[in-house]
Symmetry: C2
Amino acid sequence: VVEPFIKKLLYGAALSDDHQQALLGAIERVTTIGARHDIIQEGSAPRDVHLVVEGFACRYKIVADGSRQIMAFLVPGDMCDIHVAILGAMDHGIGAVSECRIGHVSPKTVESLMREPTISRALWWASLVDEATLREWLVNMGRRETPQQMAHLFCELLLRMQSVGLADETSFNFPVSQEVLADALGVTTIHANRVLQDLRAQDLVVWERHKMTIPHVDRLWTFSGFDPAYLHLGTTEALARLRTAT
Amino acid sequence: VVEPFIKKLLYGAALSDDHQQALLGAIERVTTIGARHDIIQEGSAPRDVHLVVEGFACRYKIVADGSRQIMAFLVPGDMCDIHVAILGAMDHGIGAVSECRIGHVSPKTVESLMREPTISRALWWASLVDEATLREWLVNMGRRETPQQMAHLFCELLLRMQSVGLADETSFNFPVSQEVLADALGVTTIHANRVLQDLRAQDLVVWERHKMTIPHVDRLWTFSGFDPAYLHLGTTEALARLRTAT
DNA sequence: CGCGTCCTTGAGCTTGGTCAAGGTCTGTGG
DNA sequence: CCACAGACCTTGACCAAGCTCAAGGACGCG
């Protein structure tokens, strides 16, 4: 069940069967981390590179006053820390939001994978998309009000989950508390709660028992000003295909 | 005067003289872009990779209501768009804040440079630091109030300018309007103005005719909760050396 | 001199934060 | 089967950070 990893990287490069086998074979072992536990701690210098196989994880930082900012959600197929080796120490933590299964890849293996140009290209692509996503989050925080910001996040997550085959046309599993959501949006839990109720009242989202459903995807896109270009999943037509045929 | 580029990359990898020559030789030509003009437009697929040689530039996006969010400042030595080729099209624009001199490198050259492991490592390093900086900006916007956020930005810029030899112990050239500053912080110009006056009143910053001076760097660090780890410029001791001996 | 760019100030309003409390749901142990 | 704890969700009243609208002043350049 490591397909999401391959599915994702196929958007970045045309990986042959051999490439795909090499990538899957790179995962030496898979461990399980309980919800609300750290996968990687800030300041550490992990030996292995980590990959989310199952579950929801997040990048986060704790600031001086004790509050937390989540800077990214990591879903199956996402790598946590390719090339920590280059930076030395983690400048942020990675935590399991729900229970997660985490794949481990040794730095040696990464290094040898990178020597294959197509694989190298795919991994660069993934890294650049992470960066683009981060930029979009910054825009989201700086220039959108909370309802739009929240809606935008849901649009993004639906599409990302669809792109790795983990969502149908309108819904995906979203095992996240409102507190985590608030920490991702940079607002208080209370405010996040009220904004969410607003979106619900407008029938823009239905979110029950960890299942997020977006009844009218187009309405949510319009509402939030969502433009998927930054995810670099291909042309608009390719995306339309993705949305209907998962 | 392309030294900042090399100075910066030396933090990421031990480049030999040959490597340095190869990097400098990669710059085929240098063009000048006037203040407030675009270096690269959103949606375009530039042929060349660009490098800021002189001046201040920024990454930005314009959102639906016409407001602008600046997502990064680019100073001499920073690359704008390594590997646009991989992503296809720019998902954001890059604009010259002040008049800029921009170096151009052909994609072919980048590709051949990347084949040299040490240079590849240095370029990965630069890209990862960009990403780390983006994460810190997100924390800055989400979890710090405007005065701290602004102060934090000034701490970052002073250190980055010092690291490429363009700042002395307490000051650097900051040819930026308050409007640009506001767009980087995600607030209105008016609010940025009032916050700036506050910092001035507390003698935390002196900013006159495009020259930014920070009379008491330690006080500004404390005030903003600045921790330079995310810039990955080396150990705390190495940074202390940097601050005294530029 | 006149225009554009930039900086500054004031008054009133809105978004989002703080403080405080209560409610729900689930799993655990008696 | 019930009591309890822990995590999570919800609501209300009040406050403050930051936005909007409106206006005016300073500076530099053709």
